[in-house]
């Protein structure tokens, strides 16, 4: 059984069909990329998986659960973490606090135990802290640990967002344009990290990315979309040489 399955999913914004009868599945342990021109509906697919939107029809299954039966805040509890195309960090909190929010789904404490900060809460917080510290080490964020997000450069914020997603200890990581706006060196780092996330941590990655170098470098399979529908699906080289894809990107060669 695939880890994530979308089946005939359709979503409309008024008259606009943002996702059009789309089906694909992501296998455990792979890096799966979605490409397509602007407005193709890639981010909308992520927002559907996150349950921010409800499709008019179709099914979304993750790890045996029917996601459409769940509310948005439950999706993370199944082990789905994500980043946002436009970076949605907790601006007025520090990097450390941002990552600790990622641990929320592992909360075993309740209001009263937290109010008195009982030994069990203390223990849980130490464990959270320990986990988060490993993520900080992995993504080289030590220098920014105590800094507020509001003062950080763009490239660092992108990494912090990935770190926050990893802090949830996910099974599936959704990355919405992880390399957009990054310099060449930062993109190289990102590429290495995505590789490691899959290889070392065993986390399945679903990413949207425009940078074809990065896509063909790290992904096992690629889905090309246009106008909400599937154009092609296959290995990076298959998709890149697909006539329909070339046409969508370059326009009709008349």
């Amino acid at each position: 059984m695939s880890l994530l399955e979308l089946e005939n999913v359709t979503l409309k914004f008024g008259g606009l069909t943002a996702v059009d009868n789309l089906s694909f599945s992501v296998e455990q342990g792979e890096v799966f990329a979605i490409v397509g021109p602007n407005g193709a509906g890639k981010s909308t697919v992520f927002n559907l998986i996150s349950r921010f939107y409800t499709p008019v029809n179709g099914k979304i299954r993750f790890d045996g659960h029917d996601l459409l039966k769940e509310k948005a805040s439950s999706v993370a509890n199944f082990g789905v973490a994500r980043t946002f195309q436009n970076i949605e960090l907790f601006e007025h909190a520090t990097v450390l606090e941002n990552l600790l929010v990622g641990r929320h789904r592992h909360r075993g404490s309740n209001f009263l135990t937290e109010l008195f900060f009982t030994p069990s809460v203390r223990k849980q917080e130490l464990q959270n802290r320990h986990f988060v510290e490993e993520v900080i080490d992995f993504l080289d964020l030590q220098a920014y640990r105590e800094k507020r997000i509001a003062g950080l450069p763009y490239g660092v914020r992108k990494v912090v967002e990935v770190a926050r997603a990893l802090a949830t200890d996910p099974k599936l990581l959704l990355l919405d344009e992880p390399a957009s706006g990054l310099s060449v060196e930062e993109t190289t780092d990102m590429r290495w990290w995505i590789d490691e996330i899959r290889r070392q941590m065993g986390i399945t990655v679903l990413m949207v990315e425009h940078d074809m170098g990065l896509v063909s470098g790290v992904s096992d399979r690629v889905l090309a979309m246009a106008d909400g529908a599937r154009l092609a699906l296959g290995t990076p080289s298959e998709v890149q040489s697909d006539p329909a894809v070339i046409e969508a990107y370059l326009g009709k060669a008349s």
């Binding site: 948005a72 946002f84 601006e91």
Partner: protein, 365 residues
């Protein structure tokens, strides 16, 4: 400059950064405990008043400063706490039980109020809570059977561990009662902030979509925040009633709601310190106002002309000055001054400037 070397994770879990900071807080608490021996009865009363305002400020800080939900209706919860406490005591419930119950009742009412308020954001929420504050004012008048209506009620002396305490007869004991409650609430607040619940408040404040994506139930966090906020405010209201001695519907008018919100903005949103700094400003405002009244009076020739609305005028000006020049409030200013001294002479003017984001966020909502 102090550089803090961290060697274990406990250092981040403790409420203080290092021994230096801990000793500062301990000195502050020692001074607060010694206050009755250091200052006269009049100033002790002022200090008690400041502490009660700080407590109310802590209540609103939970909701507005940490969860990002503006409320212009917190006087209603002050009133609820105050009346609940007195009515319970009149029904024969001892103060030691009536007081926490007043907090809990107000907290539960706050959570119920939160249900319709959850759909509202920003200015709409502020308007809705403002309306509620006006409504509660009317309800107090209408239910005069319980509340005494416009005639109001008198606060009896209260029994704490066998000591009879009232504001005029035993000002020192009343001060210690207030100090004790304020310290306990502050400690609880600190605990919540270093635990998942407090972090979920901050997450909801800064980005609801990513809070959701992290598994935080936004509605639930907001409702709990309302509950905690109103419970603390209820406790402050109960103390306020006892401190005033007599109160009626006007004691907790909309003006108090506005003053409370201004207070935490001036003190510094999103920090526990801010509630205390703001309370100090509010507490000493009357003195400041009487001085400026003379000054303004002299300016217009007359010596002691009563200028209607002067208090609010000056208050408004202070608020506008803060919003324009120091949006982080007094606490923010304090951080800057401290950094200036710590880094001397290397402080740069733009050190606290916010970096502009490069992408315009196209939020999901």
């Amino acid at each position: 400059m102090r550089i803090i070397f961290k060697t274990d994770y406990m250092q981040d879990l403790r409420p203080w950064k290092d021994g230096y900071q801990l000793s500062l807080y301990l000195i502050l608490i020692a001074l607060a405990v010694a206050a009755p021996f250091l200052i006269d009865v009049f100033f002790l009363g002022e200090l008690t008043n400041v502490l009660i305002w700080a407590l109310a400020g802590l209540g609103l800080m939970v909701l507005t400063g940490h969860t990002g939900q503006a409320s212009l209706g917190h006087a209603a919860f002050l009133a609820m706490g105050c009346y609940a406490n007195i009515i319970l005591m009149e029904a024969g419930v001892p103060f030691m039980l009536a007081f926490p119950l007043a907090g809990i009742i107000t907290g539960i009412v706050g959570m119920i109020v939160a249900i319709p308020a959850l759909r509202l954001h920003g200015i709409y929420l502020a308007i809705a809570t403002l309306a509620m504050s006006i409504l509660v004012d009317d309800i107090i008048v209408l239910t005069d059977h319980w509340t005494g209506g416009v005639g109001g009620k008198f606060a009896p002396p209260v029994n704490v561990f066998g000591f009879m305490i009232d504001r005029w007869g035993t000002p020192t004991a009343f001060y210690y009662l207030t100090l004790g409650v304020t310290i306990l609430v502050t400690l609880g607040y600190i605990n919540l902030l270093r635990a998942p619940l407090g972090r979920s408040f901050i997450a909801v404040r800064d980005s609801e979509v990513s809070a959701q994506a992290m598994g935080i139930d936004v509605s639930r966090s907001k409702a709990i925040s309302f509950g905690v906020s109103c419970a603390i405010t209820g406790l402050a209201g109960a103390l306020m009633g006892l401190f005033a001695g007599a109160f009626n519907n006007e004691t907790f008018s909309v003006v108090i709601s506005i003053q409370l919100l201004m207070m935490i903005v001036i003190g510094g949103l999103g920090s526990i310190h801010g509630a205390f700094f703001g309370a100090i400003v509010i507490g000493f405002l009357p003195q400041f106002l009487s001085i400026s009244k003379e000054w303004v009076g002299a300016l217009f020739g007359g010596s002691n002309v009563a200028i209607p609305g002067l208090e609010f005028g000056i208050f408004g000006v202070i608020l506008i000055v803060f919003i324009l020049f120091e949006p982080m409030g007094i606490y923010g200013r304090w951080l800057k001054i401290r950094t200036w001294f710590e880094l001397f002479p290397f402080y740069r003017k733009d050190m606290f400037k916010r970096q502009k984001s490069y992408l315009k966020t196209e939020r999901l909502r």
